[in-house]
Symmetry: C2
Subunit: 230 residues, 2 copies
């Protein structure tokens, strides 16, 4: 049975943070001592994780200054830091699984979602519109929106299943470029979902999330074709 080392777990966490777009190329990571508080770890453990990250070429450490995020390529990451069989997984696979889980979830959510939850979704969409030009921020909000719907389903197994595949989704984001203009279209789909949820129309809600995911697949694949650094 494998022993899970804490510093290795932290390496995964940091890669996931970078993957989720929270820290992009060139950004400085939080100071070692900050991460100690954040993850409740000793500094030695955090330093070990940073050492590994530098060896992997994911960050460049400058004494007295901080750890700066470098460009990641999938080749750099050893398999034990990636989700299982990650190399065999295509974006199409991920979207297919998300469709299955998220349509099931939004159908349930149509019955169960509360008024205050609907308001929160409304606010998320507002934030999205304000972040039209900040793509990283937009992607974060998009992820939040989807997570929110899954939770609104009130079905824990679906939540667990979604989180399990979210790992793939997060990681796949690091290795592909981002799109630009399609943000507006994505917002349109989110509005459709919200409307269907308000009207408790499960059929339309499922249809909207389905089309949204298909759209996401298309534009991400297009972005990959003109991709430079991988």
């Amino acid at each position: 049975m494998d022993k899970e080392l804490l510093h290795t777990k932290l390496v995964r966490e940091v890669i996931a943070m970078i993957a989720s777009g929270k820290y992009s190329d060139g950004t400085r990571l939080p100071a070692e001592r900050k991460l100690c508080e954040q993850f409740q770890l000793s500094r030695g453990t955090v330093r070990q994780a940073f050492y590994d990250l530098e060896k992997l070429g994911i960050v460049k450490i400058r004494a007295g200054s901080g750890a700066y995020v470098q460009k990641i390529s999938q080749k750099k990451l050893p398999t034990h830091l990636l989700p299982p069989d990650f190399s065999k997984v295509t974006l199409t696979d991920i979207i297919y699984a998300r469709k299955a889980i998220e349509t099931a979830a939004i159908t349930l959510a149509c019955e169960k979602i509360s008024i205050s939850q609907l308001e929160q979704l409304e606010q998320l969409i507002e934030k999205m519109e304000q972040s039209k030009d900040n793509l990283l921020e937009f992607l974060k909000l998009d992820t939040q929106f989807h997570q929110f719907i899954i939770h609104a389903s009130g079905n824990m197994p679906l939540v667990t299943a979604f989180e399990a595949i979210a790992e793939y989704h997060k990681y796949s984001q690091v290795f592909s470029s981002l799109y630009e203009e399609e943000v507006k279209i994505a917002i349109k789909y989110h509005k459709k979902m919200l409307l269907a949820l308000k009207l408790r129309n499960a059929r339309n809600a499922a249809k909207a999330i389905m089309k949204h995911l298909e759209h996401t697949e298309q534009i991400t694949n297009m972005a990959k074709q003109k991709d430079i650094a991988v």
Copy 2:
């Protein structure tokens, strides 16, 4: 960040083995030294796990003889040994999630499954028929059948999602009695799935797995009503 202790992991593994029906009430668990080989752990670690299991009332240890499985009740198990929010999860929730994931998987499997894989499924069904009176064995084969189909889909995210919720399913089995006569009906559904897979008829395959899961939900809920020990 939580450190995952090896002996705690082993406790989870053993509970899962009991939950899956591999070791039932009164059975003797494998000897400490056997488990050391099986899980590649030192004896001290295995002993620590056994000590925890005895404290939890899950096994009774007899010196010089072995560790014997006791009746488990959900109350005995601390939350960190259960899947997340397990107490809030109903069988209906689990079946709902399984429907979403497994219909998606069997649809893909209809395209991708190979001849030799179909033969393996055929053999599984044969074994099921031979295990009509051995319910524990039958349940094990049923689980294998479903896992096999998920893997035949060739979609890793679906596999990951299924494994994530399988945890709930396994655990829920410990806390409910088993059914008796419905085995034949279950076999009938599995034959329908196999036939649909052979004919590459995705629609019928999905329909068969759907009905099978609905049937499973019904009989398990019935069994729960006349349940004695929980």
